[in-house]
């Protein structure tokens, strides 16, 4: 009951701030200070959005982008999750990979795009590679920290009850570091989602939301660009709130492993 009230309240808060931003935008667009071609009113953007959705092009572009993100993210998780956990658990592995990660992490993923294009050509492989690069470090660092944050008492107790290294891994270390693993996943998705749009602008041909923006620029179609931006924002928001929020509510929040802010 109170959870529902909380939900409606936060929904109302979201609606208020979005509405306010929309009103300010609309005011600017109608003020005549900018050319309508550059700052189209919301109705025009909305029409571009609806047209794009109805003729199936926007959903197709969104799917192409999502495909790249999910593939790149899956690849990043497949590498970073086991590696990060091993780094947290074994000193020599940490000693070898940590400097490597520290050196690669500060390089913006988009800086790799030209090189990736030379290596993998234009298209999906490059975009997926860039997404993977962007997502791998938040996942790696969080998995590594998560394992080190596992309460040693849990390991000791499990050990005393006869848990071997394998059981310890699956039944103590993974659930014990889950708050960090989920935070890592969340950050990795966000980074991936940011990177994919950039990668598509530079490396994609014909499909993808980033490509839509890049292509619309050639024809000065600000309304299409804004419509694509809206879709990008909406999908990112949906994942952030629905997918990851639900994952956390069902696991670490239910187990009391997250300190949730009150009020």
């Amino acid at each position: 009951m109170s959870a529902l009230a909380e939900r409606t309240r936060s929904l109302r808060r979201y609606a208020t701030s979005l509405l306010l931003a929309a009103v300010v935008y609309e005011g600017l667009a109608r003020s005549g200070a900018f050319a309508p071609a550059l700052l189209p009113p919301l109705a025009t953007v909305g029409r571009a959005l609806i047209d794009g959705v109805l003729d199936g092009t926007l959903p197709a572009h969104a799917l192409a982008t999502l495909y790249r993100v999910l593939m790149g993210l899956a690849l990043a998780i497949a590498i970073a999750l086991p590696l990060g956990i091993l780094m947290g658990r074994y000193r020599p592995i940490e000693g070898f990979f940590l400097p490597l990660a520290s050196a690669l992490m500060p390089i913006p993923s988009l800086a790799w795009v030209p090189l990736f294009i030379l290596w993998f050509g234009l298209g999906n492989a490059t975009a997926i590679g860039i997404v993977c690069y962007a997502a791998i470090f938040p996942m790696l660092i969080n998995a590594w920290s998560g394992v080190r944050a596992v309460n040693p008492l849990w390991l000791r107790v499990a050990n005393a009850m006869g848990a071997g290294e394998r059981t310890l891994f699956w039944k103590v270390i993974v659930p014990g570091s889950l708050p960090f693993l989920l935070a890592g996943l969340r950050q990795a998705f966000l980074r991936a989602w940011i990177a994919v749009v950039g990668a598509e602008m530079l490396a994609a041909s014909d499909w993808g939301l980033g490509w839509v923006i890049f292509d619309a620029k050639e024809f000065l179609k600000a309304d299409v660009m804004l419509a694509a931006l809206t879709v990008i924002g909406l999908i990112g928001f949906a994942f952030e709130r629905l997918v990851f929020g639900a994952l956390e509510r069902l696991t670490v929040e239910r187990w009391g492993m997250l300190r949730t802010g009150k009020g």
């Binding site: 309460n151 008492l153 849990w154 000791r156 107790v157 499990a158 050990n159 005393a160 009850m161 006869g162 848990a163 059981t167 039944k171 103590v172 659930p175 014990g176 889950l178 696991t251 670490v252 239910r254 187990w255 009391g256 492993m257």
Partner: protein, 254 residues
Amino acid sequence: MPHIEVRDVSLTYDTPAGRVVGVAGASFDIEPAEFVCLVGPSGCGKSTLLNIIAGFLAPTAGALRIGGRPVTGRGMDRGIVFQDFAQLFPWRTALKNVAFGLEMKGIPKPERERIALEQLRLVKLEKFANAYPHHLSGGMQQRVAIARALAYDPSVLLMDEPFAALDALTRDDMQRLLVEVWQASRKTIVYVTHNVAEAVYLGDRVLVMTPHPGTVKCEVPITLGRPRDPLSVAFIDYQKELLRQLSRTTDPKG
């Protein structure tokens, strides 16, 4: 034959500040189904000694036998309960926490849930079988920890100040409950505490430890019947006796 034999057990640590003696030549026997309390000031090595018996630490000298067999490491013949409430796995319900050791033993699910529920009943928490630890009070969490340590049926229960973080009233309840559980299960219990009244209430025998270096200075058998009355004259005399032994050990005489 004694259940636990400790013979000249010593443990020295190498720290950056040099060699530190944690336990020095501790020797004692514990009989089957006996309740023994280790009492001493903080830093006297009582927890270290318990960890040696648990097999988490290897002594640098001496011998340790449980049931006649030398101890070489951890084993499922011993259950352990710590002071920290966080010892429970927060991602498992009370029932699943208690079933963990049975899971490790490879006991099938229906069987282990039946045993776990039985153990929870022993600590009067069967109604909370499906609660997650963070919904339980500190005292309840410690009871789950006791049930968990007993569930896979070890012959020895090792307890490291399990009630030290509880409020006084809850602690009294828990001590009563522990005696009941011990009488029902007939485990051999080694119980570390710095609380003299607790030691007199619980123990068949109290071993007094001295710090620097940590060793067993003397032992005091408690011959009071159970349940014990903490306000009786005899009970208070035992407390005085233990306090006298302890204050003598902490006197900084050369």
